[in-house]
Amino acid sequence: MAAPGTPAAPRGAPGLYVHVPFCSAICPYCDFAVQVGNDVKARQLVDGLCREIETVAEPWRLLVAGPSTAAPFDSLYFGGGTPSFLGTDGLGRILDHLRQHLPVDDDARLFFEANPEDVTPRSLAAWRHLGVDTLSLGVQSFDDATLAFLGRRHRAEDAHQAVAMARQAGFCTLSIDLMYGLPGQSEDSWRRTLEQATALQPDHLSCYELEIHRRTTFGKRYAKGQLHPMPDDQQADLFVTTHRWLEDNGYLGYEISNFARSPRHRSRHNRKYWDHTPYLGIGPSAHSFAGNRRWWNEPSFATWKRHLDQGNSAKAGEEILQPHDLTLERLMLALRTRRGIDLQEIRETYGCDLMQLNAERIEHYVTAGLLRHEEACLRPTLQGWIVADSLAAGLSVQG
């Protein structure tokens, strides 16, 4: 058994994340660290990323492996933003650099996010050629009015074509991202989007509820009373509809927002965030984690770049997680997954006897139909999922 609360032995191969902080325009709801990009910035980014890879390689090796050889990365994820800003050359350069400086598994999965308007037979071929296995397309909706409302740069027709083309290009996993719970959205309208999405037979779907963040355009419109978010109750209803409908149509929700046609299409990369597998993030604002340490990069592209230009680290902050922090994180993330909390894992890896600490509380959650206690796991029900955060907040992790 590991020391309580210290998942010392990495529970699998680490993952690598590359953040591309550029988009062709900024969507009115977006609160990621992104800005409008151009070719010049894109070149600077590629240079910066290469330099960062060189800078972090040794510290990473020391941190995760100590004197022994570090376990190789088995997932490489390019997200953002819009990773296609890297260009085919840029992507190739970075991949080469990664393989040169960091241990990368030969079978590592390559994940790539793209927007429908970037999808052309040429770009698809290039991505396939560079080894992209999983392509996630930011479709968001199959309704033109909705797409316009969301400030997206493509139309429903583009999305259809993009998905169809990508399907043919032969990625191992083709995923599409959708958005729901929009102001005034009817259940019917959302259902039509779901129907069209599943008709295209992607392997994976991510369905996110729209959240209004304060500093975004939507946030400002909301503050002025010009935008009326969908009430929580209705969002909750749509959440249930989404899970039921997708399950009936062959896509099982394995996490609150993620659905897969079969277990092998579940995201190998995202899982690492959920169970404290080490991950290394490069690029502005990227987060990294190993052991009991989490650190993050400068969120601003300019600052991130300046640090690297000056030969410094781009790290902006770090925290050492206490055993109870780790346990709480694990619980809160596990409650977002279908599998739920594995009691034995929590006991053995985190040194926390959850049942003993929370016997009564858990019983009430079960009685209230929020959790199911089965196979030594605490599984959230659909109703439980909708209030997963409060379930986690209700559990004691230390005596």
Partner: protein, 599 residues
């Protein structure tokens, strides 16, 4: 002994007792000018803040009368509020006379009458004093009439004064030496001294205040407390000035203090007789029955970690407050606490405030209750002041609740309104008699539980401040009592249970349910709040579940931000009490229990 006068100042609340005491003290040079402050005898913070007297205070003053002789005046200032009438009673025991103050504009009020009767019970000589004659609304002639008709005292013996301006204070002093008798007592008889009060001094322990009836008390003597049969060594004795003034001895008729190494006021009994081990008195002086608590409530610390502090604080406070009773109690919802007995609601408030202020505690009090009698089918009778111990209804033959006789003095134009209020409060045999043409004395037999809460406020409002009220507990009467429980999702919240008359149960329960529904935040599931008697639901309310509490996306690896949000939620939960699966914030208990008196 000829030159000693022992007297107390008694009156209805706020008629100016403490202010008159100030003037008498100043007139006799009992305090240096710069050390003086208003109501100087009211030394507790809470007394000063609320402008009321809670504890009787004794002071000895030298007074040189117009006849040239110097007298030793032992003055006792008493509280006016009903809750503290036991303090008045004690004070009366050590006096030969009393100044009965009447506010020149308010006239005779209920406690004026009540205190007069008390004084007569102890055979005291009474001097009526009409105070506040400086007020523009003062009407001494009318008040004289009331002294005659309501009190049956000689209106022409009344001294007019203003404790505020000092007018007539000489006359009051002269009347004291002229009209009040000196104490009687045999200097050669075996020592007998009455313990009429006690204070607690953190350095010296208990300071007994006593009135020597016969013989002498001297420093170094071996004392016997006749009631407890305990012996002590007199360490110090003396007169009570603003500070204690040690003396060699206290002779017959004098009032003073004795320190003899007693640790807690609980080790002695007020009303006990002091005598000497060497030459004991044949029998004790007539005793005094300690006031019994009438209102009970459980006290819990807001933070359960503070329980230890509450224990310490109560033990300390009790050293000084013999009327307060307390015993360990525990509630499933609120944890460990104490079941406390009080003399009335003001006493309860005072205790709570002193604990919170002097001991820096934050407290939660359960709904106050009176003490009921329950006759069991077995023939046994049990007293119940805590709803938690109310027997199962199937075991109960009958229940009884304490009744009082209320005496309400009001201008006659309010008769209708007051009769109605008494009826509303289950008053029986409500009758009135005219004292004068405009004033009536209305009496009614009512359950104690009905007058404890807002009765006085309602009375004041209905009579635009002209009514006053006094009561004494008379007997227990058969009454249809039920225990009302509050269930939150089926789990009883023991701290909210209460005993009530069946007719009162529903509105009370409904009020609780509604208040809780307003103050308990939405949770992951629907919450049903019910008021029940036995298994029967008599009131209900519901709190709908909140539907959503999860963020759709966990951005990349930024788990830290999300964990912080959940930690914040967790932090909030710490201030909640769990009842079953439902989290009840302390604010909900406070809201329910605070507003309780209104129903």
């Amino acid at each position: 002994m000829e030159h000693i006068r022992n007297f107390c100042i008694i009156a209805h609340i706020d008629h100016g007792k403490s202010t008159l005491a100030d003037r008498l003290i100043q007139h006799c040079g009992g305090v240096e000018e710069r050390a003086f402050r208003d109501q100087i005898l009211d030394s507790m913070d809470i007394e000063r803040e609320r402008g009321i007297t809670i504890k009787s205070n004794t002071i000895t003053l030298p007074y040189t009368a117009k006849n040239g002789k110097t007298y030793e005046l032992n003055l006792i200032d008493t509280p006016g509020h009903v809750d503290f009438s036991h303090e008045v009673r004690r004070s009366l025991m050590s006096c030969e006379g009393a100044l009965l103050l009447v506010d020149a504009s308010q006239g005779v009020e209920a406690q004026t009458v009540a205190n007069l009767y008390l004084a007569l019970e102890y055979d005291l000589e009474i001097i009526p004093v009409i105070n506040k004659v400086d007020l523009p609304s003062a009407d001494p002639d009318r008040v004289r009439e009331e002294i005659d008709s309501d009190l049956g005292l000689d209106p022409f013996a009344a001294v007019l004064c203003s404790a505020k301006t000092g007018l007539g204070v000489d006359d009051v002093l002269e009347a004291i030496v002229e009209h009040l008798p000196p104490p009687k007592g045999d200097a050669n008889a075996p020592t007998q001294a009455l313990v009429f009060d006690a204070q607690y001094d953190i350095y010296r322990g208990v300071v007994m205040l006593c009135r020597v009836k016969e013989g002498f008390l001297r420093k170094g003597q071996e004392l016997l407390l006749m009631h407890t049969q305990k012996t002590y060594h007199i360490e110090e004795l003396g007169l009570l000035r603003l500070q204690r003034m040690p003396q060699k001895e206290l002779g017959p008729g004098s009032v003073g203090y004795v320190i003899c190494g007693v640790k807690s006021v609980r080790d002695i009994t007020i009303g006990d007789t002091l005598t000497l081990v060497d030459n004991p008195a044949p029998k004790p002086l007539p005793g005094y029955k300690e006031a019994k608590p009438v209102v009970f409530s459980s006290m819990y610390p807001m933070a359960s970690d503070d329980y230890g502090d509450l224990v310490k604080a109560l033990d300390k406070l009790a050293l000084n407050d013999a009327a307060l009773t307390y015993e360990k109690d525990s509630s499933a919802a609120l944890g460990f606490g104490f079941r406390c007995g009080f003399l009335g609601l003001l006493h309860l408030e005072v205790v709570q405030e002193r604990l919170e202020r002097e001991y820096d505690l934050s407290l939660l009090l359960s709904a106050p209750s009176v003490s009921y009698k329950v006759n069991l089918k077995t023939g046994e009778q049990v007293e119940i002041d805590n709803p938690m111990y109310f027997p199962d209804p199937t075991e109960i033959e009958s229940t009884e609740e304490p009744y009082i006789k209320a005496s309400i003095l009001i201008p006659e134009r309010y008769i209708g309104a007051m009769m109605e209020l008494c009826r509303e409060r289950r008053g029986e045999n409500t009758v009135f008699r005219y004292l004068t043409r405009e004033r009536v004395d209305l009496t009614s037999e009512m359950p104690l539980a009905e007058v404890l809460f807002d009765f006085y406020d309602r009375l004041k409002t209905l009579t635009q401040g002209y009514g006053s009220f006094d009561y004494e507990i008379t007997d227990y009467r058969i009454s249809d009592l039920v225990k009302v429980d509050i269930l939150v999702n089926g789990e009883p919240v023991d701290a909210l249970s209460q005993l009530a008359h069946r007719d009162r149960a529903r509105p009370r329960a409904l009020h609780y349910c509604e208040k809780l529904a307003e103050t308990i935040p939405k949770q992951q599931f629907k919450i049903a709040i019910q008021g029940v008697i036995g298994g029967k639901v008599i009131a209900r309310s519901t709190i709908n579940a909140f539907r959503k509490d999860v963020t759709a996306k966990c951005y990349g690896g930024d788990i830290t931000r999300k964990r912080k949000l959940i930690e914040k939620q967790k932090e909030g939960k710490k201030r909640m009490k769990m009842v079953g699966a439902v989290e009840i914030p302390q604010t909900a208990f406070i809201a329910v229990l605070k507003s309780d008196s209104g129903k």
